[in-house]
Subunit: 478 residues, 3 copies
């Protein structure tokens, strides 16, 4: 048996022995349940084509901006980690092994972080590589040894996405897709009799709703001509969005996802919306125009969700690309998206006034501003049948933050209003670690309620199964 | 002895055995102390007339919007729960037994919530009905059986408000009353030699201070003619408020309560205030006018409190009646009052500049925005002799939230600046459960400080008595 | 051995026996390490001249507005605590012994507070006076007895600043100084071969950057004539600030500290800045002008820090002198500085755009608005090499708040991005208690991560040494 802390069966469970023992019992009911992943960023084509994994650095370090950002904060330039304007690792003369060495040198930075925990789990349970030696000697020789071990593992013909998909016991995996994506990989997987899980597309129209997206006008032009049913202008734009959502529904999509700037929703008249839209196409829209139009489109997206049944997810409140020089050198998603304060109560009202009790409408707000958990989200979800409480997301997708989340929402909204866990990851190999973490935290939280005689043990056993398995099926209509 | 978790003597106490044992010891000092309830919504006439309780659904479900909201969130329309435009349960053809069945069907929704915990306590300790069977078989047969048992209990002639009042060991119970209420029930109780407790009115003038209250102008007309000493206009309005406060003082009131929109206070000149007041009476006031006037009236209420000694309580930061269709169908208090961010530091300054150190002035801010506990309320109460820290209120009146509250305020302001617990309830039968919950949490928090050698056991024993019994007497001048 | 809870070796450590034992082990690695105090308010001249301490009240009560504020909140006027317009204790006829009696009478107010905890530690470990008797009999006789014991101790010729400095094992102590201070005491200490520790000045230019400071124009006049190299106006002002910073650098300063109103930074053109500056010198600047200019000067201070290497610390978000009557009677720093909401993400952007990755630039934001820990500060420090996470400060410099802080930031930013502990105190004798508290909390937090198998014991042992000793050296360039 491994000596790694990542192998300990009590990992993440509460210190108190009595509570821990109850948590172990609760965990045993859900630890082996299939994975439901209704929101994430894995590439469907990789699964479909069963693409071999690249080297360890290109797989685990370079594309994970949650990892590169922290190494960057220690003073290592991003191009030493494989980032490049061109997107090609090594463009600046850095080899994957160089990047890996930087990563292992930076290993201590990840102690106590969510990423560090996932890595330990992944190495232990997916790659079967013992990294406990890093606790003693994190030097270059160790880095190289681990790199070589991983490389061997990754080039094993048995170590491929489809095999892991089965090993991970993934029942549903949702991807995130451009509205004009043809969803060919999703269709091929659905038609493949050898592939029995579900890989579902998610409609993500952000780039078409925000005037300031690079090439917004060209994108919209393309959208309208591809799916506007011959209509032009704002009417064609709305029609095209409706049509492409329908296309996604037909390809198995269950949700539409929105990374809006704020939580604001607004109901403009068609004439008002059209005026802003036309202004933007002429390149004359102001920042305020863009905000108003995006808020209006959030209302429109809700209206379409009521009509076509797609679950609407929203995750506002992040200042994207905070450091312009980094954005200009390396593009988006480089680890400098920084949260800002958010508030939902007044912002969502125009939408909830009209659709808050609409039959079948599901709206799931996510947040990285913890202040709204007890103040706004739990009270909203505790009244509106349409509002589900988004699981702790991004920076909050971590053990302590998850416990704070449960403590903040449960006393007001109970367990039934939760979205269930989402992993939101592009790191395929980290999926089991992320879901297992969530299950351990649910067990820990519930075990405390049992010890405090707030929930009976019988009920806790039912609740944990519902929270892990029932909630995502219910909230995301799986 | 009951097998229910609600009967466990360790309920809500910390898991660690050493800490739990100290908590038990501390709890034993306060568990049987009389109940002081300086803020709530029980009907004084019900006590005075010793009105028999209605059926279980009409008593426990329909009027408790904290309960109906959560059932509503699961998709049950409010009229299935007894709500009606007319206020008459059953108006939509739903019988109390139907409502009760919906409630029991929804029972799992309340696991982990404050309401669920109170219900378990109430069933165990007030109604002596064993509901632990709900943990196994929450079906319709169980629902009916519990309904019938409760009904039998409720129609027992010994099971009446006055008898329970004595059984609950309530020493003081404050109600919440309209400024024009004649307080006849309060007077009758005070004059009744067979009733030895105190039932005190609370002056709640919200409807007269907010221009947008339905019938504001008519209410104000009535107020002025009833108590304006013959003066008219703004002067008569102020005079009438002063007079009615005096009437409340003479009937035993100790506090005036304010559900203001924000925490803003403003000192207008009499001429400025009169101008807004006159504009509003003509129906021409804007939303901004209403906000300014309300802020000014908060200042005025403080001024009057300094003069007449009524403790001033304020609980801003709630967006009332968030979902207009629900408001239009069922009226106010239907579970869709949703908190918004609040800030006190600058907002209260005009008032605290003038009255913050005024002799005998007591100001108690409540909040459901947890962010202000450590940031603003504890620092304000740690300087101003007039400011007391309002107990966790509404959505925050729950075990975990109370512990977060104590952790957030104590290190800055100690224990002496707290308002003491308030139950804020209209659910008379839940009063013991609510106070007992608070006492268990105080014991839990203090026990941890003892175990961490931050407070000596001798001092902790004194503190818990002061927090439970001394603080509300001091803050509310009981 | 003392019976005081302050002497217990397990004080502040977690209740769970297994976790406590690991915490004890971790604590043993750092408890005796030298004290690094890179930010505080001790008077360098007192060290240099080895000034005897005054009586207990004048030493421990009167100058500590964190203490007097809480006694004030209980209704005791500030002049009973030694405060006076003139700054002379006793000016209002109150003797130090009177003040001390008020303090001991108020002793129970401090139970559970950070101040109360520090006092117990200080009495036990610095003054060797047993105050556990206060837990039983906090009367006047006890007050007088403790006063006399302390007085005897304080007049012992061995009980002097330099001796304590050595006993406390202080390696580095930073003071806070006016830009025009000649730093003579610092120079004398540096030149003194009998004094082997480092006492460093800190450049604190607030009074020269805020138009509304009393005597701003006169101060600026003096600054320009003293250090403007003959230049006048805005150019002379900037030059003088640069020159005085250089003077501080030459006298050992490692940081410049900024108590800005908000976190806003702005880059004005020299012409724009000059216009505001000239307007202010004519006494015509508005409040908005002052805000803009201060934000611009924060940008300028960052620019200068990049050039001269001084670490830039910032602690915005406090409403100073909230109660004007108290300010007018007693001046600043009387305990009514009250926090307001703060946000960094957008506010710091102009500065971080230009200097966020500048070589050698260190920026340390502090906060007393806890909401920013997980939402903004950890994400910013997890990307920008220049941003370090300021330790919990002021009201948050307390055991529970420190644990909340670690829980909020670590999962996102790990341990490496922390500033290390700062005591920020003018109470010299409390320094060991404050640092020891921090070390115990770090041990408690890490022990939990070890028990939860999130960090290995080997790594935890390295981390705690780095957090206590490495972090402040790294962040403050010690």
């Amino acid at each position: 048996m491994s000596q790694s802390i990542a192998a300990d069966p009590n990992r993440l469970l509460p210190a108190d022995p009595g509570t821990r023992s109850i948590a172990r019992n609760l965990l045993s009911l859900v630890e082996e349940l299939p994975i439901l992943s209704p929101h994430g960023h894995v590439d469907a084509a990789m699964i479909e084509q069963d693409t071999p994994f690249p080297d360890p650095a290109t797989l685990l370090v370079t594309p994970d901006h949650y990892v590169t950002r922290l190494i960057h904060s220690s003073g290592i330039p991003l191009d030493r980690l494989g980032a490049a304007g061109s997107g090609t690792p090594g463009a600046h003369g850095t080899t994957p092994r160089d990047t890996w060495r930087e990563f292992i040198k930076a290993w201590p930075l990840f102690e106590g972080t969510a990423s560090g925990y996932w890595f330990r789990q992944e190495f232990e349970h997916v790659f079967h590589v013992d990294i406990s030696r890093l606790d003693q000697q994190p030097g270059e020789a160790t880095a190289d040894a681990i790199y070589d071990e991983l490389n061997a593992r990754l080039s094993d013909p048995d170590f491929r996405p489809r095999r892991l998909f089965r090993d991970f016991n993934i029942e549903v995996l949702a991807t995130t897709d451009d509205p004009l994506d043809d969803l060919a990989a999703h269709a091929a997987l659905a038609a493949d009799p050898t592939f029995s899980s579900r890989v579902l597309p998610t409609f993500r129209p952000d780039a078409y709703l925000k005037f300031h997206t690079p090439d917004w006008a060209a994108r919209v032009e393309l959208l309208i001509s591809a799916a506007g049913d011959g209509q032009s202008g704002y009417a064609g734009y709305i029609r095209a969005l409706e049509n492409r959502r329908q296309y996604f529904v037909e390809h198995g999509a269950v949700s539409a996802d929105h990374g809006s700037k704020t939580a604001l929703t607004l109901k403009l008249s068609a004439a008002q919306a059209q005026e802003l839209f036309d202004k933007a196409r002429l390149g004359k829209a102001t920042a305020a125009d863009a905000d108003v139009f995006e808020a209006h489109m959030m209302y429109e997206m809700a209206r379409m969700s009521v009509a076509d049944g797609l679950v609407m997810t929203m995750h506002p409140g992040v200042f994207r690309n905070h450091h312009t020089p980094t954005f200009e050198a390396f593009g988006a998603d480089m680890g400098h998206d920084i949260p800002v304060p958010v508030s939902y109560t007044e912002a969502l009202r125009p939408m909830l006034e009209d659709f808050g009790t609409a039959h079948g409408f599901h709206f799931i707000p996510f947040t990285i501003d913890e202040t709204v958990f007890s103040r706004e989200i739990a009270p909203l979800a505790g009244f509106y049948p349409s509002v589900f409480i988004g699981a702790p997301w991004w920076f909050l997708d971590a053990p302590d933050a998850m416990l704070r989340f449960r403590s903040a929402v449960t006393e007001t909204a109970g367990f039934s209003r939760s979205s269930g866990f989402i992993d939101d990851t592009r790191a395929f190999c980290s999926i089991p670690a992320r879901h297992n973490t969530s299950r351990r935290i649910e067990a820990s939280f519930l075990a405390r309620l049992v010890v405090e005689h707030r929930v009976s043990q019988e009920r806790a056993r039912k609740i944990i199964v519902d929270v892990v398995d029932g909630a995502p099926r219910r909230a995301f209509k799986l």
